[in-house]
Symmetry: C2
Subunit: 148 residues, 2 copies
């Protein structure tokens, strides 16, 4: 199995960072403005990036305030189906460390390379927004490459 891994440290309280990951409104501030569904364990969240259907739908599998958010992809690109996304948070020197893993990829396809760069971009968007800068969720994002 292959995985995309990232880490950012954010100069903000862990409870505030957790809110950005655990609530629909929070996620909308850094990944995509168009999040639909319910962020509760067992609920589904649909992530839209334009188009006639969501780019991905995740089942929320863990919400452990303020330490962990975990999703399981139930709809989306074939390569994403049954992959998992986890955000593990901890405090360190008054800041919040976010360790991200998008695991369960079956093959190291080029789309994984693309998604890895995109995840970094959006995690930096999260960080920037929380540190008083500009966050860049879709559709305000810069396109990283040809698949947008």
């Amino acid at each position: 199995m292959e995985a995309i891994r990232h880490r950012v440290t954010i100069d903000a309280p862990i409870t505030a960072v957790y809110e950005q990951l655990a609530t629909r409104e929070g996620i909308a501030s850094w990944w995509t403005r168009d999040v639909r569904g319910e962020s509760r364990v067992g609920g589904d969240l649909a992530f839209w990036f334009g188009g006639s259907e969501p780019a991905a739908v995740m089942k929320v599998v863990e919400l452990v305030p303020p330490r962990r958010v975990a999703w399981h992809c139930i709809q989306g690109p074939d390569d994403w189906r049954d992959t998992t996304q986890t955000f593990d948070l901890r405090e360190e020197d008054g800041r919040t460390v976010v360790v991200f893993t998008h695991g369960g990829w079956r093959e190291p396809v080029e789309f994984l390379h693309h998604c890895s760069t995109r995840w970094a971009y959006f995690l930096l968007s999260l960080r920037s927004g929380m540190e008083g800068g500009k966050s860049t969720p879709w559709p305000e994002d810069e396109k990283v490459d040809i698949f947008g």
Copy 2:
């Protein structure tokens, strides 16, 4: 073995992108301003980010204009020792696709998460600089987290 994978598409000719990866001056424009050594097959490149020794030294193992640059890490963080960095380039719709892989990690340590986000940041720096924006090599980079 674990790997960091990224992809960016750059609106610039493949030969120009190749130069940014295959020459010391090119690398200095997007990764670190302080690159020392010789970018020739068999030569060593030392990448400095301040401090009293280079953060990493890579042996240049492949230079295939304008398609591929490959390095092998011979000195640096323990986790980087004997890892490889490859940049594969191709033209697509008048733009240049860069597929990056930092392979050969023995374990999915948290430092891999950190480096993955940092590589994305610097590949986006490369892209931005080539598209008329601002590139952000060290020391002009934004610190992604506590290990700088």
